[in-house]
């Protein structure tokens, strides 16, 4: 269904045998247990790295983060390991999601109509939005690129005696920029997965979403997993004079 766990070997692959997801009537399986486990693993490491990193990033504001990790020296010692934890689990998720996240022409169109998405011009997403929309894909690839930057610059700053003075200074800036982008990203991510788009959070907790959620936010995926064409279904519904909410507010 959703993730590329199927691609890795269908139902018999070990990934698929980790945990079962209860799918109630009217729901669809969105993220299986392995995907959810990875998400929360790198989620924890993300916040550990974020808080410890910002204690060092700007101590005159964030100095109160460092006592959480046992003082400045301990924070400095732990931060690289938090970062590696994040990159390790996110790397597994990147492999898990590689096919779902591939960019298509529909995604470019989605980005062009980003304003419509933000302003809720249409109550449902366009019919070509699949398992992930282009915004999710953009964030995913930003984290992939940012993680590569994190690892390279982080290792340089971790072992300055090997790499020397100027590589450390350059890495310092790149590491900061990557952190600032992800800090901005985490606000959007948390907002859209909780109060911004109600019904989304359960995809990463219980692993399921309602069929209506899928129809609203990911119509092509809805079509793939239910076999129902959302547009045809809507037109059919309109023709049969059933009461249906308007597809568009304008």
């Amino acid at each position: 269904m959703g993730t590329s766990a199927q691609r890795l070997g269908g139902k018999n692959h070990f990934i698929n045998r980790i945990g079962l997801t209860v799918v109630y009537a009217g729901e669809l399986l969105r993220h299986r247990a392995y995907t959810r486990f990875l998400h929360w693993s790198y989620g924890i490491f993300f916040f550990l790295a974020l808080l410890s990193g910002f204690g060092i990033y700007m101590p005159w504001i964030f100095r109160w983060f460092t006592p959480l990790f046992g003082g400045g020296a301990m924070t400095r010692m732990l931060h690289p390991w938090f970062g590696l934890g994040f990159v390790f689990f996110f790397g597994l998720q990147a492999i898990n999601w590689l096919t779902e996240m591939s960019w298509g022409p529909g995604d470019t169109r989605w980005i062009r109509r980003l304003k419509d998405y933000v302003t809720h011009r249409n109550t449902t997403e366009p019919p070509d939005v699949g398992f992930f929309n282009a915004g999710q894909k953009a964030m995913f690839w930003e984290i992939v690129g940012g993680s590569v930057a994190y690892v390279i610059t982080g290792v340089i700053m971790w072992f300055p005696e090997i790499f020397g003075r100027w590589p450390v200074a350059v890495s310092y800036i790149i590491h900061d920029i990557s952190a600032l982008i992800m800090l901005a990203g985490i606000f959007v991510h948390i907002y859209l997965s909780t109060i911004g788009e109600p019904g989304t959070m359960q995809a990463m907790t219980r692993g399921t979403v309602s069929e209506a959620w899928a129809w609203t936010h990911h119509p092509r995926w809805y079509n793939d997993v239910t076999g129902r064409d959302p547009v045809q279904a809507l037109d059919a519904a309109r023709l049969s004079q059933t009461q249906v909410p308007p597809r568009s507010i304008d």
Partner: protein, 304 residues
């Protein structure tokens, strides 16, 4: 310092005119002057430094020079660099330079340091590390143009020359100054040392035929509290890595002081943005799906 202020005369009984010495200011900036032209490479300063700072002697490395070891270390803050330099005209110079912390007026280590109170600069110009506050990130190593701070992997802290801040605070000269047998090392106020250095440079130029002799007090970092007299000030690099124009990486100056706070504000705009979105546009609610003919059986199933 407090003594000087409290014991300054304010009024004098039966005294005509103003108080003698009123309004005078004492130069507070200290300075070590190293005259490389009179250094004989005896290493007495190295020994005095190790002894005063109570650091154990360590095995040295022979690399075909008279230099004690290739570079300073976390427990070896003072090293005479022996440089054999051949000039284009076939002449040969054996240049000895006492290498230690330069105590910059604009310290790159201090600018780079993210730990509260790990690096301090005293009013007298001494830049000192407070190891108990050091977090071991080694950004100071990257910030220093002279490769001075040295990391101790076992304590995970960084160490360097203190200009004997403990001795200076008690009115003594640094240990290296006390040990120098040739008078190559001087210690005093910055003004006095620059004056002394200037006289020596004039002497070298006029009587020793060293036209390029000069003072090394690099202004790119606001000057230093350790000043050299060099035979050839036009090319300090040949004294074993003394940069002509030492610079602090922009990462620790403009980036750290300006772009970091601005970047943080820019990132926090995303938070403001989602709050504004929730208030103005509101959440995107799930729309009921079109009616479907076949409805799944009403039982929960398990999938993976």
């Amino acid at each position: 310092m407090s003594d000087r202020k409290t014991l300054q005369i304010q009024r004098i009984s039966g005294h005509p005119g103003s108080v003698a010495g009123e309004g005078t200011q004492r130069q507070e900036k200290l300075c070590k002057l190293i005259d490389t032209t009179t250094c004989i490479g005896c290493k007495a300063c190295e020994v005095a430094c190790v002894e005063w700072n109570d650091m154990p002697f360590q095995p040295t490395m022979f690399d075909n020079t008279y230099q004690t070891m290739p570079d300073t270390n976390w427990n070896y803050w003072n090293l005479i660099k022996f440089n054999e330099v051949s000039s284009d005209d076939g002449s040969f110079q054996w240049l000895m330079r006492k290498h230690q912390c330069m105590h910059c007026a604009d310290p790159g280590c201090l600018a780079a340091c993210p730990a509260d109170g790990a690096i301090v600069q005293y009013r007298n110009g001494i830049v000192d590390f407070q190891e108990e506050n050091c977090i071991g990130c080694q950004f100071c190593v990257s910030g220093c143009p002279f490769n001075v701070p040295k990391f101790n992997p076992s304590t995970k802290k960084v160490y360097k020359c203190t200009l004997c801040s403990d001795r200076v605070g008690s009115g003594l000269e640094p240990a290296c100054i006390k040990a120098c047998p040739t008078g190559c090392l001087h210690f005093g106020t910055k003004d006095d040392m620059l004056q002394l250095a200037g006289r020596r440079v004039t002497q070298l130029q006029q009587h020793a035929g060293l036209k390029d002799a000069g003072i090394y007090d690099p202004q790119t970092i606001g000057g230093t509290s350790v000043v050299y007299v060099l035979h050839d000030a036009t090319n300090p690099e040949k004294y074993g890595g003394l940069p002509k124009n030492p610079r602090i990486p922009l990462a620790f100056t403009i980036w750290k002081s300006w772009f970091k706070p601005l970047g943080l504000i820019a990132s926090m705009m995303a938070f403001a943005g989602v709050v504004m979105h929730y208030v103005t546009e509101g959440p995107r609610r799930v729309q009921p799906q079109p009616p479907v003919k076949e409805i799944d059986g009403g039982e929960a199933r398990k999938e993976n």
